[in-house]
């Protein structure tokens, strides 16, 4: 019984990280209608810059801010200079350009910092509280709190702010954004910038756990993908619920079934959800326009 409840609680903690990974992808999908494969590499750039600052004496807070600032900048640049301009050829080339960007960034990182994994600072490893006998460190608590506020913030942004509403509309109808007074292109750039910031934030929670290497944030991407597919592409709330569910499910699979089946179970459940609800559990059903 203790095994089960600990699995559940830790599943939720890691699942929230998956959700965060999904949230950045949703932001880009909302305005552009495709998925970025390069978010992990954008985060890695920010993290390595942050680590260099930390090693030369910057405090944790400054390190974290620097990581987010650099990721925001890189995310915005990738969107503005590469991917958004390529949308004129269609969604497929734009999505492929994110793969190209990922290859370039990871190559540059391999050349400069190398492949060795290294440790990354975290908020604090000391125990903050204990839930049902499971110890939680301050890092866990910070992760949950920050993620929660990010999700609430994004939810409010998309439903209340003029730009957020325009972002929601723009993927359905190009003119909608213009009608709301926000140009299409600017919306996309904002979404890339926000997604960059989110990936940096994600990196701050991932790197201490998985240790920092050029691929550590990338390995989480597949969980983010699944979170948004299962949750529903246009739903931030869906990403939160689905990410958490995936965290719990993978944990239970690993504990009770076989750790080597985790990715397969992930794929199967994703396919299953898509078959039953093609727009995800919380996605809006789109009307076919003829």
């Amino acid at each position: 019984m203790e095994l089960l409840q600990t699995s559940l609680i830790l599943g939720v903690v890691v699942g929230i990280v998956y959700s965060l990974s999904g949230a950045g992808l949703v932001v880009i999908f909302r305005t552009s209608g495709y998925i970025s494969f390069t978010q992990g590499d954008i985060a890695a750039v920010g993290l390595f810059v942050g680590l260099a600052a930390y090693n030369s004496g910057a405090g944790y807070v400054w390190t974290a801010l620097l990581v987010i600032a650099v990721s925001t900048l890189v995310g915005g640049l990738v969107g503005a200079l590469i991917t958004v301009p390529l949308e004129k050829h269609g969604h497929l080339p734009a999505a492929l350009s994110t793969i190209a960007t990922a290859l370039i960034i990871s190559g540059l990182l391999n050349l400069t910092v190398g492949g060795d994994p290294r440790s990354f600072p975290e908020v604090s490893r000391s125990e903050a509280l204990s839930i049902l006998g499971v110890q939680m460190s301050w890092s866990d608590v910070a992760g949950v709190l920050v993620s929660a506020s990010v999700f609430i913030g994004l939810g409010v942004f998309f439903s209340r702010s003029r730009m957020g509403v325009a972002m929601r509309a723009v993927n359905d109808n190009k003119l909608a954004g213009e009608l709301l007074g926000v140009p299409d292109r600017r919306l996309k750039l904002v979404s890339w910038t926000v997604a960059g910031a989110l990936s940096g934030l994600l990196g701050l929670f991932v790197a201490p756990i998985l240790s920092l290497s050029t691929v550590s944030v990338n390995t989480l991407l597949v969980f983010g993908f699944c979170a948004i597919v299962i949750g529903g592409f246009d739903s931030i709330f869906g990403a939160l619920v689905a990410g958490t569910a995936i965290g719990v499910m993978t944990n239970l699979t690993s504990t009770y079934l076989d750790p080597n089946l985790v990715p397969t179970v992930l794929w199967a459940s994703m396919l299953l959800v898509l078959l039953v609800r093609p727009n995800g559990l919380f996605g809006r059903r789109k009307l076919v326009r003829v």
Partner: protein
């Protein structure tokens, strides 16, 4: 139309011949027949597994040292390293290049169980002997010789150490479901059973996973005081240890040379200092022989991490190769030995020297039958239990 096609074919064929000329022509003169002994190896010089390549640089350092001292009976050793990125689809390509183009007479320290598995049969068919830098016992064969201790024995030695030396009878095992992981687990179980014990848990993990909290929970639930993860590489061992310590589970950890490097210390932020033991058949940097090793490395491969298990293994293999080649040159009356002569030397070779103990390839081509236990203390690896035969 047809005229143009013919033209195109001629052009393309000429181009391809020209390209081929650039690729192959160059080094064929420097192959066999000269004064040099040509040997080779493959290693992940790039790609995701690049951090494993420290071993090959150490092997090269051992060979360079001999070359600078005049070579073996006047013969310089030419050591050719090719990059296979730890990708078994690429390994056969670079191995063919070594054998068919560079005409190496043996492979010295090619890295990785799976990559070597991809070429083992090919090398045997070409009768090219290899001293392998990998731990899977199934790799041993007529032409492939292992140096590292078999993980069955490593797992057994750690379990024995826990029960007999640390006086702990609550032992759990974490393992990956692959050849190394399962044989290490079986070795540990064998020893525990002999002592009338059984492991409190055998917890499986996936080395590519992003989340090890499930394993941490299961390990904690066993209540073991000693957790053995013999076959884990440093990065994976680090993730398992971090996940466990994060939920307040801090046992004594049993590891092996595979995890013995700065990555583990760095990733775990030194938390396991004093609580981590490593079974290894290799020397320590602190030992007498280790001083010479460290000096050589500082001269010939200054960028490589000195007290990493992989580096020491690579260096040891380099020393072994030199020893083997020296004997083969003797057998060839001072001439450059052929592959067959090297194979003959290898098949009767035994080693009980400063660097390695318990190798007897005249019996079986498998790894060292002896190992020692090191403890991680103040960031250094110090001897906790001297060399002893594997149980």
């Amino acid at each position: 139309m047809s005229k143009k096609l013919v033209g195109l074919t001629v052009a393309l064929t000429t181009l391809s011949t020209a390209l081929a000329g650039c690729g192959g022509g160059g080094d064929s003169a420097s192959g066999a027949g000269g004064d040099e002994i040509v040997i080779g190896a493959f290693s992940p010089l790039s790609g995701p597994a690049v951090s494993a390549s420290s071993g090959i640089y150490a092997t090269k350092a051992a060979l360079d040292k001999v070359n600078d001292a005049g070579g073996i009976d006047g013969h310089k050793i030419k050591f050719i390293i090719k990059d296979d990125q730890f990708d078994p689809a690429k390994t056969p390509g670079v191995t063919r290049e070594l054998v068919e183009t560079d005409r190496v007479s043996m492979l010295c320290g090619p890295q990785g169980s799976v990559p070597f598995g991809a070429v083992k049969d090919y090398l045997a068919a070409r009768k090219i002997p290899t001293i392998v830098n990998a731990g899977a016992p199934t790799l041993a064969g007529e032409y492939s010789y292992l140096v590292s201790s078999p993980f069955d024995g490593v797992g057994a030695m750690l379990a024995q150490f826990a029960v007999e030396d640390l006086d702990i009878d609550k032992v759990a095992i974490a393992y990956s479901d692959d050849a190394l992981g399962t044989s290490a687990r079986d070795g540990a179980v064998r020893i525990l059973e002999a002592d009338g014990l059984e492991p409190l848990g055998e917890i499986k993990y996936d080395i590519t996973a992003t989340d090890f909290s499930s394993q941490a929970i299961q390990l904690k639930a066993t209540g073991a005081d000693f957790v053995s993860i013999p076959a884990a590489q440093a990065n994976v061992a680090g993730l398992v240890i971090n996940a466990a310590e994060k939920i307040g589970y801090k046992p004594i950890w049993g590891l092996s040379y595979a995890a013995q490097n700065k990555t583990l210390v760095d990733v775990t932020k030194g938390a396991i200092d004093g609580r981590a033991y490593f079974a290894t058949p290799y020397i320590t940097e602190e030992s007498e022989t280790g001083a010479e090793y460290a000096a050589t490395l500082a001269e010939y491969a200054p960028d490589v991490e000195v007290n990493s298990g992989a580096t020491i293994a690579g260096y040891t293999i380099g020393e072994l190769c030199v020893d083997v080649l020296t004997k083969a040159v003797e057998a060839a009356d001072g001439e450059v030995p052929t592959s067959a002569q090297i194979q003959e030397t290898l098949s009767s070779y035994t080693a009980d020297n400063d660097y390695i103990q318990g190798i007897d390839w005249s019996d079986e081509p498998d790894g060292a039958a002896a190992a020692q236990i090191l403890q991680l203390k103040d960031g250094k690896y110090v001897e906790s239990k001297p060399f002893a035969p594997l149980p």
